[in-house]
């Protein structure tokens, strides 16, 4: 009888080393910490390479706990990046960012016209969807998820002040969003507030918001124990 584990146990180390050999130099170069430590980016992406000299200022109560100054992922370092890459550097957007990848929305986000991305935080997603519902959206119902994301993207790269001044904007999904201003931010669809606005990317503005938009039903709390691990 075959025993896959035993086989793996005896052959894998060699396989692992073989795998390691061609990449070892590059791997080490990427993995070894740089003294001073800022911007030593394991993925080797453009965070520091293409940082523009223009300092980007973001506004909102959540900005204080997001990367700032010369920390990896600081707003200035994201200014030259494609929108989908920039999303990977904003820690509170892991759900939104995963949803962009799951739906292949990057092409729409990175289009030349420019877009405004109203990106709900992880806390907002957790308050909106049960964990089962969220997994279904991420893994199976990606068409539905794409529709939801397009409810969060507006054509044209609008600073938050312009967004608030517009009063009404239209999303990629074709829905209208009313926008009101105040406190240097914006309130969208009478429910979501910007909590850290005016991230700039190569062709987009990202405004982090604290509620999920769109028309999907709220399922958080449907399960008896929504936090069970």
């Amino acid at each position: 009888m075959t025993d896959p584990l035993t086989r793996a146990a005896t052959s894998a180390p060699r396989r692992a080393r073989r795998r390691a050999t061609p990449v070892a130099g590059a791997a080490l170069a990427l993995l070894i910490a740089v003294a001073g430590c800022t911007g030593a980016d394991g993925t080797g992406s453009a965070a520091t390479d293409t940082a523009t000299p223009v300092a980007v200022t973001v506004t909102g109560p959540l900005c204080d706990v997001l990367p700032a100054g010369d920390e990896p992922g600081n707003p200035t370092s994201l200014a030259g990046q494609p929108a989908d890459q920039a999303l990977q550097w904003i820690p509170v957007l892991t759900t939104f960012e995963a949803a962009v990848r799951a739906t292949g929305l990057a092409t729409e986000l990175n289009g030349t016209e420019g877009v405004t991305i109203l990106a709900p935080t992880d806390d907002a997603f957790a308050a909106k969807f049960s964990r089962t519902n969220l997994d279904e959206l991420l893994l199976h119902d990606t068409d539905e998820l794409r529709g939801l994301l397009r409810d969060h993207v507006v054509t044209g790269s609008l600073p938050v002040a312009e967004l608030a001044a517009a009063g009404t904007v239209t999303t990629l999904a074709g829905t209208s969003l009313t926008v009101t201003g105040g406190d240097g931010g914006a309130r969208v669809a009478d429910r979501a507030d910007t909590v850290c606005a005016d991230y700039r990317t190569a062709n987009a503005r990202i405004h982090v918001i604290n509620q999920v938009l769109g028309s999907l039903p709220t399922t958080a709390g449907d399960e008896g124990d929504d936090h069970h691990s």
């Binding site: 009888m1 896959p4 584990l5 035993t6 793996a8 146990a9 005896t10 894998a12 180390p13 396989r15 692992a16 080393r17 795998r19 390691a20 990449v23 070892a24 590059a26 791997a27 080490l28 990427l30 993995l31 070894i32 910490a33 003294a35 430590c37 030593a40 980016d41 394991g42 993925t43 959540l62 706990v65 997001l66 990367p67 920390e71 990896p72 992922g73 550097w89 904003i90 820690p91 509170v92 892991t94 759900t95 960012e97 995963a98 799951a102 935080t121 992880d122 806390d123 957790a126 964990r131 969220l134 997994d135 991420l138 893994l139 199976h140 008896g224 124990d225 936090h227 069970h228 691990s229």
Partner: protein, 698 residues
């Protein structure tokens, strides 16, 4: 004159850090009423432990942190980063608080103040210090590796690509580490395991098992990655540390770290695997390739203790919710030792270092129950001392609510690193207790005594408040319909049940019952009209949970096979077909006809037992006055927990490795010619005579 100076000095201390070294001295000499005294700070990996002298009548304490420059001047705002409450630790007279969340290496000043009710009292004199940088010397090969998560200061989690490069680099640079691919995910991502020993890890799974290894499963839910990052850091520490105590520990055991069992879910940021299956509801059923690979690894490497890492979404909880295997079929000793690991070790060390370990839930939430599909319970049923670990929530009663920010990610990961490091220390200090509990559990389970509970938990007793364990999870006692008072001897499966195609599991990857029972490592006897799975084997408590029709989440409805003899039999006994003796007394020899099956639990036999040529032979928890012959058996041979007066012969058996464990043999133990050498799964036999050949080390 002096009082004017003092007033000026105290005013200065109210502002962050101006010549604080001198003011601290003065302030300590002239304490204000209820001012916290004797604040100390000790730096750990990613956290700083503050300790101070208790203030009589204090309701709680607030901990304030201010970033400072080399010269002590403040470089940012002072922030309350924590609240110490009496139920955070077991000894309230020596309060401690582990501050975390800061970027490693930065310099801070801390102050502590008591509150009486809600009334804040004067702050302590400040203490300051540089926190530890990321572990490892930047000029030492191996030590200077960093993960993507570390390099980005927590802004990004370590990607799969970065994981493989980091893992390969450790594998290549450290003789202490062997990276084993234990399987692949559905999307063909490798599931790697660090096997770490000093100076080198044992070469085979069997050799690793002989070192009583410990295991950390780091990331089953893809959207709970905090523990995984801790595992990467710990693997680097173990691979490249010069710490003598750690090397001593690694010379006596083997550390197994599975960083990413659910690589597909991690990449997708989903809880489940790529099919959406919650893998932590699949460790018994093993429908998925990820859980199957893990269970096969457990079968072959046999960890004696384990932690399973998670993150908890509840905002009203402690730092580190933990929970033992509570399912009532878990052997008492495994439950007790798991509780000792949590309440004895983690609560005690948490009080020293300032981390708040507590029972899962911490608030009485309806979590942490008896599902055997959860790894915590599955491993307990496999006789492994273990605990679930949850990393603290986004907010909470004693920490700021900072969502999924880098601050909070660092709190989670470095508290996981503390836990896993303490787990290793616990394992080293308690190895003999753990192995004793495990040996007793294996003998108890193999004896097939006592009722079977399909679902239901042992209670976690509440400690009188305030205490970390003052609010345990719900009782979760089994209902009457979840209890089977008379255990069967075995389950019989039909050919179709055993080898038939199944529809559960991912498309194209479904496995048969036969494959799953083999992955668990269970003994199965081929009989004329099907397959017998005896309960008298080391994972007895899990067997009915998969094979009984009454099971809550069963695999297949096997036929219960009742004992054939429970009373006294005088004279010779000849076995044809299947005989099952439970609590029986036989006064005379037992002869098993070729091709027949004999299963004996808890019986007394006055005479020789000869199972030559049997299809299967299982003898547990029994007394035999006379020789025992297991010769030429084609299927399983299981001899566990027996007392025999006379020679025991295990010879020329052709099935899987005979299990000879925990027996007391008054006579010789002879093992030759077996296709697979007999094993004792680290449960030693006591043999008065010589142990020969294949049994020499049993």
């Amino acid at each position: 004159m002096f009082s004017t100076l003092l007033a000026a000095v105290l005013a200065a201390t109210a502002m962050p850090a101006q010549a604080f070294g001198q003011t601290a001295t003065v302030a300590q000499m002239q304490a204000e009423p209820n001012q916290v005294q004797d604040v100390t700070v000790v730096q750990g990996d990613g956290y700083a432990t503050l300790a101070w002298t208790h203030v009589d009548g204090a309701t709680d304490y607030q901990i304030e942190r201010t970033p400072i420059a080399e010269d002590g001047t403040a470089t940012g705002a002072a922030v309350i980063v924590g609240v110490w409450r009496p139920n955070r630790q077991i000894n309230n007279d020596k309060p401690t608080f582990a501050d975390a969340g800061f970027a490693p290496g930065n310099r801070f000043q801390w102050r502590v103040r008591a509150r009486l009710g809600t009334t804040a009292q004067p702050y302590s004199a400040p203490v300051s210090g540089a926190t530890k940088a990321h572990w490892g010397d930047l000029n030492t090969p191996g030590q200077n590796l960093r993960t993507q998560w570390e390099d980005t200061l927590g802004a990004q989690y370590t990607s799969d690509v970065n994981e493989y490069a980091y893992t390969a680099a450790i594998d290549q640079l450290s003789e202490r580490v062997r990276v084993v691919e234990i399987g692949r995910t559905i999307n063909n991502r490798p599931i790697n395991m660090f096997v770490i020993g000093y100076p080198t890890p044992p070469a085979t799974p069997e050799a690793v098992a002989a070192t009583n290894p410990l295991l950390v499963n780091c990331n089953v839910h893809g959207n709970e990655p905090g523990d995984r990052e801790a595992c990467f850091i710990m693997a680097r520490q173990l691979a490249f540390t010069d710490d003598a105590a750690t090397l001593d520990r690694l010379s006596k055991t083997t550390m197994l770290i599975v960083p990413t069992i659910n690589g597909d879910g991690r990449a997708a940021n989903s809880r489940g695997n790529s099919t959406g299956q919650d893998l932590n509801r699949d460790y018994s059923l093993i429908r998925q390739p990820e859980t199957q690979a893990f269970v096969e690894m457990v079968r072959d490497y046999r960890p004696i203790a384990s932690y399973d890492g998670h993150e908890y979404g509840n905002t009203n909880t402690g730092d580190l919710p933990m929970l033992s295997p509570r399912h009532q079929n878990v052997a008492q000793g495994i439950f007790d030792e798991s509780q000792n690991m949590i309440e004895g070790h983690m609560y005690t060390q948490g009080a020293k270092d300032g981390w708040w370990a507590c029972p899962y839930g911490c608030t009485g939430a309806s979590v942490g129950l008896g599902e055997e599909t959860i790894l915590r319970n599955t491993l307990g049923l496999k006789n492994t001392v273990n605990s679930l670990l949850e990393l603290r929530s986004s907010g909470g009663p004693t920490r700021p609510d900072e969502g999924n920010t880098a601050n909070n990610r660092r709190r989670k990961t470095y508290s996981a690193l503390w836990t896993f490091t303490q787990f290793f220390a616990y394992h080293s200090a308690n190895a003999s207790n753990i192995t004793t509990a495990r040996a007793e559990a294996i003998k108890f389970q193999s004896a097939n005594t006592g009722r079977i509970v399909f679902r239901g938990s042992r209670p976690i007793p509440a400690h009188p408040a305030p205490h970390p364990g003052d609010t345990p999870p719900p009782l979760d006692a089994p209902g009457q319909d979840q209890i089977l008072n008379q255990p069967p001897c075995a389950y019989k499966l039909t050919e179709a049940q055993y080898n038939g195609a199944r529809t559960d599991g991912p498309a194209g990857r479904q496995t048969t019952v036969a494959q799953r029972l083999a992955a668990h490592g269970w003994k199965v006897i081929k009989v004329a009209d099907g397959y017998l799975v005896p309960l008298s084997q080391p994972e007895r408590g899990l067997v009915p949970l998969l094979l009984d029709g009454q099971a809550a989440e069963g695999l297949v409805d096997g036929e219960r096979i009742a004992p054939t003899l429970t009373g006294t039999h005088n004279g010779p006994l000849t076995v044809s077909g299947v005989a099952c003796l439970a609590g029986a007394t036989v006064r005379g020899p037992i002869r098993v006809k070729p091709g027949a099956t004999l299963i004996v639990n808890g019986s007394s036999i006055n005479g020789p037992v000869d199972a030559s040529g049997a299809a299967g032979f299982v003898l547990t928890d029994s007394t035999v006055h006379g020789p025992v012959n297991a010769t030429g058996v084609r299927g399983p041979v299981v001899l566990v927990g027996n007392k025999t007066n006379g020679p025991v012969n295990v010879v020329n058996n052709t099935g899987d490795a005979p299990l000879v464990a925990g027996n007391t043999v008054n006579g010789p133990l002879s093992c030759t010619g077996n296709t697979n050498a007999p094993v004792n799964i680290e449960v030693a036999n006591t043999v008065s005579g010589p142990k020969s050949s294949q049994c020499a080390r049993l």
